[in-house]
Symmetry: C2
Subunit: 213 residues, 2 copies
Amino acid sequence: MSHGVVPAAAADGARGLLAPVAHGLARLGVSPNVVTVAGLVVTLGGATVLAAERPLAGGLLLLVGTLGDALDGQLARATGSGTRFGAFLDSTLDRVADAALGAAAIWLGHVHGDPVLLLAGIAALVASSLVPYVRAKAESLGLAGAVGTAPREARIALYLIGVLLWAVTGDARAFLVAVIAVAVLGTLTVVERVVHVSRALRSASQHHNEGNR
Amino acid sequence: MSHGVVPAAAADGARGLLAPVAHGLARLGVSPNVVTVAGLVVTLGGATVLAAERPLAGGLLLLVGTLGDALDGQLARATGSGTRFGAFLDSTLDRVADAALGAAAIWLGHVHGDPVLLLAGIAALVASSLVPYVRAKAESLGLAGAVGTAPREARIALYLIGVLLWAVTGDARAFLVAVIAVAVLGTLTVVERVVHVSRALRSASQHHNEGNR
């Protein structure tokens, strides 16, 4: 799968780091679904701490939660214990985690009296929910939907960079810029996926008509 | 399709009212996709007017936008001009309309300094995005996903009743209660759909194992 603006080397590096952890959990008999739920709990905790204006602690928790999110798939592959329900649950809880990131930005916009951050948070939340919706809808039509500039890894990486820059520099504008970037690139990705589905359906209907001649 | 808490008679009545409009548009040669986009534009306008604390004008625009939303499907059936892309576009823009309803509640919570309405608006937005996501994901696995207490018609009816009660009584608490109801019943519906998918996959895997014996 393409990771968009996240370099493949970074994604491979994260997977390499997680491999021993996955094998350790496999030996302990931990099920992938437990790791999925634990990753969500850590991410929800991180979003809450971030919303309480503690970007360093919140950012580190979000980083751990995000790595945990990659761990369930690795564990499922390592142990051969992956199920279709496990993959479905993982996808669904990813949407809850994405929503928590948007909600933290909305809440910070509210308490800082910053309507731009609040509206950017709403836009980021909505775009982050539409990107996977359009993909799932495309797949329910038998089409590929995982295309576009900013898939989940890219959106989360941008968001985390903003949080950690805020933590390091003390300047919350780094976070605002990151949330705006997630909103803009997420919206672009929705448009890219809709255009992709439109083209795929038109091409399929042409093939169909040619076949009928 | 089940309409949950919306009585079937009310849904049939709305369709009956729209039938002459659909036939008029069909004679004018208007395409269903144009009606889909126009319905979204009216709904976005209604959400914006509502967010500007004008519940009567906002509520009436939202009512027109929602009826317009039922019109595209009727027009497609009346003219036989429905396409798979039209259905996909309609579903995707429904998600944008749902998000606008949640966003209006969040914004009103912000400007009224009412954190309960703001958080209920976030929860309603997230639940309203998860309900159709879980369905699309279930359908991409070849399962039915359109189950549960509060499908879209029910959530929009609750929300509109809250807006119109606010307009008539002047008491914004009617709207707050409606948004909380959408958040709670929407979350319940997500859980119902996840449980439904879990059972359907377990039952499918049992049949599969029995077949292998």
